[in-house]
């Protein structure tokens, strides 16, 4: 879905590794968790409690709450509001896992 630009005078930030579910993925320092997931071609980060429909980050600014994931064991974290860190363990949040 998304890709990283590579323009001539763009600094290449340092790389960080994180896990999303079972996948080992890479991102750049300074990315939000949501940006890191989108740039890694992760399609959906959660599914809804009502119908189980897949959802992905929508607003990237903290208003829609579509990006809720579990980060290092803490549920209901807004992926667009949290910087990705090396070694982070992120899990998709399915259905009512985050409580309702």
């Amino acid at each position: 879905m998304f890709q990283r630009l590579s323009l001539p005078d763009m600094p290449r930030g340092s790389e960080v590794s994180f896990r999303f579910g079972e996948q080992e993925l890479q991102a750049r320092e300074g990315d939000s968790v949501a940006a890191a997931l989108l740039a890694s071609d992760v399609l959906a980060c959660r599914s809804t409690p009502v119908s189980g429909s897949p959802r992905a980050p929508y607003c990237m600014m903290g208003v829609c709450f579509e990006c809720l994931v579990e980060v290092d064991g803490v549920p209901n974290v807004q992926a667009c509001q949290v910087p990705v860190r090396d070694g982070m363990r992120i899990r998709p949040q399915h259905g009512t896992e985050g409580g309702r």
């Binding site: 630009l5 300074g30 990315d31 959906a44 429909s53």
Partner: protein, 477 residues
């Protein structure tokens, strides 16, 4: 006890802090983002797009403010979220796992705008996002959509994003323009006002020229729009005014936008008096000439009090900073009045273009009152049809439909459905939007765990005011 606490470090918050510091105050500025800039200057210190022509000069203008935020009198705290604010100006802050409560004599809310909800069939599919989100990914991470990309909607921000994408070489398969026919004619009477701010007007015309030169497929007068796909976006389908049949285009990303509205979550939860802005089609807190709300010691500066744009947000920040200094006796009354007058004249010139822009880009009814099958509440998956049915059953306001359908009760606390539900109910009941009203909101504004809450309330015992409003629920219900 703080002199003045400023929520938000966009142009309004930064200039409020700079002004307050100039008058000898020691402002505390908090923002949930990891760096200052707000939406317009987002990631200005860290963006990987260092070539200045890419994001444009208007973006880099923000550097002057960010530099001055380093003033040693200003206590600027990034990555800090406001989860509570009471009428007694007790503010709940959350940074990582650390929650705390602080108290202020003066509070300036500079929390900005959000994009207007754009409910169309399929807008919850992965692959459908807002234009603002596209811009945030671009500015903060240099991350861009893969082809084929479709951009749809109306308003200056949509055009700006298209131009920024062109400059970094991102192909745009189509720009589906939902600006309804006749808007230029309707905007004409407001053109003299717009000409008082020729800079902004010229910028818009330049963007349109840039898009035309690049040969972007710009489809005008789009009257219906759907995002289609199974589990993810696969196609965008649309119809144009006066034409039969649907056209479709394959797409992996669809970015939607139809203007921005004040993000009133905090002022609504505070119970500030709000008014409906019939030209901007949005709620805004009622403010006086010093930008003060009807609650003692709480003011609103910038787009959170009505959409004014980045330049005017900066001027409003100055006015609110001045107001706080005045209220705290840091500046003689005569001098405050004189300086405020100067800021208000500059503001009037800067915002003279708003009636023109608001009229030109006013979204047509079908984009605000969606068809029955369209989801309105993304969190609880409630359709426009269900809201209309509730109106038939006698629901007059959004708090009733919330009780019966859970619409607005999900994690976003109605941010993405509130405006639509109010407008749908007003329309279905044939009553004004003021009579219809808005959701009753309560803190916390942001998810906070029981552990964090307990730590904060421990800390609050040190404060005289006690723990504010009703106890917040631990999860983002």
């Amino acid at each position: 006890m703080h002199d003045v606490v400023i929520l938000g470090s966009g142009p309004a918050g930064m200039s409020a802090a700079i002004t307050a510091a100039e008058y000898g105050l020691a402002p505390l500025v908090v923002d949930e983002q990891p760096a200052p800039g707000g939406q317009v200057y987002r990631a200005i210190q860290g963006t990987p797009l260092r070539n200045r022509t890419l994001l444009g000069e208007a973006y880099w203008q923000g550097e002057a403010l960010v530099d001055r935020l380093r003033d040693t009198r200003i206590d600027y705290r990034p990555a800090t979220r406001v989860w509570q604010l009471t009428r007694q100006r007790e503010i709940g802050l959350l940074r990582g796992e650390r929650a705390e409560l602080v108290q202020a004599h003066q509070v300036i809310l500079a929390t900005g705008a959000m994009e207007r909800p754009f409910p169309i069939p399929g807008w919850t599919l992965p692959g459908v996002m807002t234009a603002g989100s596209g811009q945030i990914l671009l500015k903060s991470s240099g991350v861009v959509p893969q082809a084929p990309l479709v951009i749809a909607g109306t308003g200056p921000l949509l055009l700006l994003l298209a131009v920024q994408y062109l400059r970094v070489g991102v192909p745009i398969a189509a720009l589906l323009d939902t600006t309804p026919p006749g808007r230029y004619r309707q905007g004409l009477p407001h053109l003299p006002g717009a000409l008082r701010n020729p800079r902004t007007l010229a910028k818009g015309l330049r963007w349109l020229r840039e898009l035309r030169h690049a040969g972007v497929r710009h489809i005008k007068q789009v009257s219906s729009l759907r995002a289609e796909g199974d589990e993810r976006l696969e196609r965008v389908a649309w119809q144009c005014h006066g034409q039969d049949g649907w056209k479709t285009l394959e797409a992996s990303t669809l970015l939607l936008h139809q203007g921005v509205i004040p993000h009133t979550q905090i002022t609504q939860a505070l119970g500030c008096e709000h008014e409906w802005d019939a030209r901007q089609l949005a709620w805004r807190p009622r403010l006086d000439e010093w930008l003060r709300t009807d609650i003692e010691g709480i003011a609103v500066a910038g787009d959170g009090g009505g959409i004014v744009g980045a330049q005017a947000a900066e001027l409003q920040g100055r006015l609110a900073g001045l107001g706080a200094a005045h209220a705290l006796g840091a500046i003689p009354a005569g001098q405050a009045a004189k300086e405020a007058h100067r800021q208000r004249s500059r503001l009037a010139r800067e915002t003279a273009i708003r009636p023109f822009l608001d009229t030109l880009y006013r979204p047509a009814p079908q984009w605000r009152l969606p068809a029955d099958d369209t989801l309105v509440c993304r969190c609880e998956e409630v359709t426009a049809g269900e809201i209309r049915r509730m109106a038939e059953l006698g629901c007059r306001g959004p708090n009733q439909t919330k009780a019966f359908t859970r619409c607005g009760m999900g994690p976003c606390q109605g941010r993405l459905c509130g405006l639509t539900v109010s407008e749908l109910l007003a329309d279905a009941n044939g009553q004004s939007i003021e009579e219809t009203g808005y959701y009753h909101l309560r803190p916390p504004f942001t998810p906070i765990t029981l552990g964090q809450l307990a730590a904060a309330s421990q800390a609050s015992k040190a404060l005289s005011a006690g723990p504010g409003a009703s106890p917040p629920s631990p999860e983002p219900h």
